[in-house]
């Protein structure tokens, strides 16, 4: 909310792009947090493989799941910005856009991969390997694109450091707000998933079933 207020009142209107540049304050924090979430999902998957504790797999799953939701937002807000700025909804010869789409499509296969594996241990193991590989792919991909050529898509660092202080302040507040929103939603979903697992276990126990039986039905979500 503070970030929105700053965007409306404090952030200056860009001399080159005009008011359209204000999309930057929602699009770039969304992209940074989504990509950071993908990398964090890989780190949490490493923790699962080290400890074999299903709670790490659950954390990795929730982080990647939420990052995919944010990535949808990045693609839509980016398309709106491209249309307003360049006159096209999508530009195929712009490497950053295409790389982000590739990363999004890569992670779009994460849920079907999990769903296709019935055994919970195997599901967690395979999904962790996927999360680590894809998580390493994200910084490599974007680093390579940035190093390879000077692209038309403006890097976030250039836009924040070359502008006046109010641009940097608004951007940092927006980025902080987006990070807090991401962490809060992650904790919310984690709590919901944990309570669901406890309720299922309790229901099986009250119904007189064996507590060791797996939850009924196949699911992409980890089974605690």
């Amino acid at each position: 909310m503070t970030a929105f207020a700053l965007v409306l009142t404090h952030a200056p209107v860009d001399a080159d792009q005009g008011v359209i540049q204000k999309i930057f304050y929602v699009h770039v924090p969304l992209a940074i947090v989504a990509l950071g979430g993908f990398v964090a999902g890989g780190v949490l998957a490493i923790m699962y493989l080290r400890t074999r504790d299903r709670r790490w797999d659950m954390r990795s799953y929730v982080t990647i799941h939420l990052s995919i939701v944010l990535a949808v937002g990045v693609l839509i807000t980016g398309s709106i910005w491209a249309r307003a700025s360049w006159g096209h909804w999508w530009v195929w010869d712009e490497p950053v856009l295409v790389v982000f789409l590739i990363v999004f499509l890569l992670y779009a296969t994460y849920q079907p991969l999990r769903f296709s594996i019935e055994d919970p241990d195997r599901q967690a193991r395979y999904a962790s390997v996927f999360a680590i590989t894809a998580g390493a792919f994200v910084p490599l991909c974007f680093g390579a694109v940035r190093m390879a050529e000077q692209v038309t898509h403006p890097p976030a660092a250039t836009m924040t450091t070359s502008g006046p202080g109010s641009v940097t302040l608004t951007f940092l507040v927006a980025l902080g707000g987006m990070t807090l929103l991401f962490i809060t939603l992650c904790k919310y979903e984690l709590a919901s998933k944990n309570v669901t697992a406890h309720v299922r276990r309790l229901r099986r126990r009250l119904a007189g079933d064996d507590d060791q039986l797996p939850a009924s039905g196949r699911s992409a979500a980890p089974q605690l």
Partner: protein, 66 residues
């Protein structure tokens, strides 16, 4: 009725922020639906547990006194 005249650029900016808000609201809506389903399950479990307790009390009461 308040009518705000937006320029073409402002419409794109408004659209981008509305998309973000809609995304967050949709996510929260789905989570709220899941939470209410969970609430119904907890209520059903509580009823099942109470029924179990009542059955146990009945069986204890019916046991013959030595």
């Amino acid at each position: 009725m308040l009518v705000v005249a937006l320029s073409s650029g402002e419409k794109y900016v408004a659209a981008a922020y509305v998309v973000f808000l809609a995304l967050v609201l949709a996510y929260l809506g789905i989570m709220a639906a899941k939470l209410s389903r969970l609430e119904r399950e907890v209520v059903a479990l509580a009823e099942l547990a109470e029924r179990g307790d009542a059955l146990n009390e009945d069986s204890v009461a019916k046991e013959p006194v030595a």
